[in-house]
């Protein structure tokens, strides 16, 4: 951390003189590729709505944490998110209703329950930081957490990527090649739930899903194969993350939402490039 600060502190920029900006920059550099990798698979599996619901379920997780008297509701948020992710995965398999309907129901329920519990006595305002997020107050411990998540997902993607790919491409086909399809589905759901939930205090639950899906959505307009897809998603995510963070410093805006606007600009540009 000290080396990072000493190194970037040399830069002749206003923002580089602030320790909180350098911390936030490091966090963005860790979280951006992480979201890009997850997002690529979320988009290919047509699970954008799934990750949106998981993000919104954080409200119920926070409420349960607060009611249980936890100082930091992170653990209850993670527990609720992973439980919901498993529940949706099971429902998608076994229910005749469309996945959209089920996910929409679950999401509305989790949001309503969370808001009801948190707004008792009119105290919801103090939780609004979870809606917007704040990456500028990220602590060195949290940065270490982000690095651990990136390492974890990179390892998962090294060892399990092809099995995830085949499971979501065609379940019986995956099974014919000896893949434990249930395990892969559950593992992917848990990974998305964990990463999204842990990142909510930094990015804000209102925009976190956009950060997940926009780089991948832009990349798929440009890429012709899986390797190009992932490389361009990571690049787009990193560049919009860094630009958004620095932009939010000068414009005095919320970082998470500013990053999303940059990612959106990349998406728009990718649409134009695809047309040609």
């Amino acid at each position: 951390m000290n080396g990072w600060h000493a190194f970037l502190g040399q830069l002749p920029f206003d923002w580089a003189q602030y320790a909180f900006m350098l911390n936030a920059l490091l966090a963005v550099i860790l979280v951006s590729p992480l979201f890009a990798l997850l997002g690529c698979m979320v988009i290919n599996n047509q699970m954008a709505f799934f990750s949106e619901a998981i993000g919104h379920a954080a409200l119920t997780g926070i409420a349960i944490g607060v009611l249980a008297g936890l100082g930091n509701p992170l653990w209850s948020m993670i527990a609720v998110a992973i439980l919901l992710a498993f529940a949706i995965t099971l429902f998608r398999r076994y229910s005749a209703a469309s996945a959209d309907t089920i996910i929409g129901l679950v999401m509305s329920f989790a949001v309503a329950l969370g808001v009801v519990l948190l707004s008792r006595g009119g105290g919801f305002a103090k939780y609004s930081r979870y809606l917007i997020g704040d990456i500028l107050t990220i602590t060195p411990n949290e940065i270490a957490g982000a690095a651990a998540m990136l390492a974890g997902v990179a390892l998962l993607w090294m060892f399990f990527f092809n099995r995830f790919f085949l499971t979501f491409l065609n379940r019986p086909l995956a099974k014919s090649r000896g893949i434990n399809v249930w395990f892969m589905e559950a593992l992917f759901a848990a990974a998305v739930a964990l990463v999204v939930t842990v990142s909510i205090p930094w990015i804000g639950l209102l925009v976190i899903n956009s950060l997940l899906i926009l780089p991948a959505a832009a990349a798929r307009n440009l890429a012709r194969n899986t390797a190009q897809y992932h490389a361009s998603a990571v690049a787009i995510s990193l560049v919009s993350g860094i630009l958004g963070l620095i932009g939010s410093f000068y414009w005095n805006t919320a970082s998470g939402a500013t990053i999303v606007l940059f990612a959106m600009a990349f998406f728009a540009a990718s649409l134009v490039l695809r047309r040609r």
Partner: protein, 269 residues
């Protein structure tokens, strides 16, 4: 092509499905299914919509929980007790046409451990190219899956199912969305592989006249097996005639002659 002779079968290896049943929720989809598949044999699985044809394949793959047993009796003694390798050609893939997945990615993702997001190895690409050549898909390797025609995708999925060569090949309505000439070509190809690789092939089909000229054996399934025999025998079966509202036994004799018949019209919905 003499499709009804069993001379080409080695007959020594055999896959036995014994008393297989599948129940989903409170609905019994399959019940008391008994079936022996021999290598070198091409079996057409026919039946009305909702008869449980796809369910049978998924149960054989172990993707659906089922009762009963699936046993493989190989020729070689040292292979006994080993699970047979099953190749599977799905009806469709769960993806949208914009997905940036190339044919090479599909092969590498299914046949190797090295993650395709970090690129595909030369070895895998070479093997994919070799298998694609067998199905006449030499030029397809760098195409996106979404850019393939139905017929091309079916041939790619067939090549994939044969990498590595399995003991049993299951095909789920492999020619849906393919034109008549393509259907003939595809069946000819599958039929040839049965001989070249000595495969036991179970093929779900709605294109009854076309498949009749290539299948050694035909099975009519509707929750359980109601008729089993040569295409001519099965088509002559009263239940089959009643189900499809048409007597195929006359046309089944017309080998190599394609009778244009839309499968939707031949079936009672």
């Amino acid at each position: 092509m003499e499709a009804n002779t069993s001379a080409s079968h080695c007959g020594a290896c055999c896959t036995k499905i014994e008393d297989l049943g599948v129940t989903i929720g409170s609905a019994t989809i399959l019940d008391h299914v008994n079936l022996h598949l021999h290598c070198g044999e091409l079996i057409a699985l026919i039946g009305p919509n909702g008869a449980g044809k796809t369910t049978l394949l998924r149960a054989m793959l172990g993707e659906l929980p089922h009762t009963g047993e699936l046993r493989f009796v190989p020729v070689r003694k040292d292979a006994r007790g080993k699970k047979p390798r099953i190749g599977y050609v799905p009806q469709k893939l769960d993806m949208d046409s914009l997905a940036p997945i190339s044919v090479r990615d599909l092969f590498a993702g299914a046949t190797s451990r090295w993650p395709t997001w970090l690129g595909c190895s030369a070895g895998v690409s070479k093997e994919a190219q070799r298998m694609l050549a067998i199905v006449g898909g030499n030029s397809l390797i760098d195409k996106k899956l979404g850019a393939l025609s139905c017929g091309e995708l079916q041939r790619v999925l067939l090549a994939l199912a044969l990498t590595p060569v399995p003991e049993i090949l299951l095909l789920d309505e492999p020619v849906s969305g393919v034109d008549q000439a393509g259907i003939e070509l595809f069946y000819q190809m599958v039929s040839q592989f049965r001989k070249d690789f000595d495969l036991a092939i179970l093929l779900i089909s709605h294109d009854l006249p076309a498949v009749a000229s290539f299948a050694d054996r035909m099975i009519f399934l509707n929750r359980t097996i109601l008729a089993d025999g040569t295409p001519r025998e099965v088509f002559g079966h009263p239940v089959v005639r009643q189900t499809f509202g048409y007597d195929f036994s006359a046309t089944a004799a017309l080998r190599k002659t394609v009778i244009p018949l839309h499968h939707g019209g031949a079936e009672k919905k």
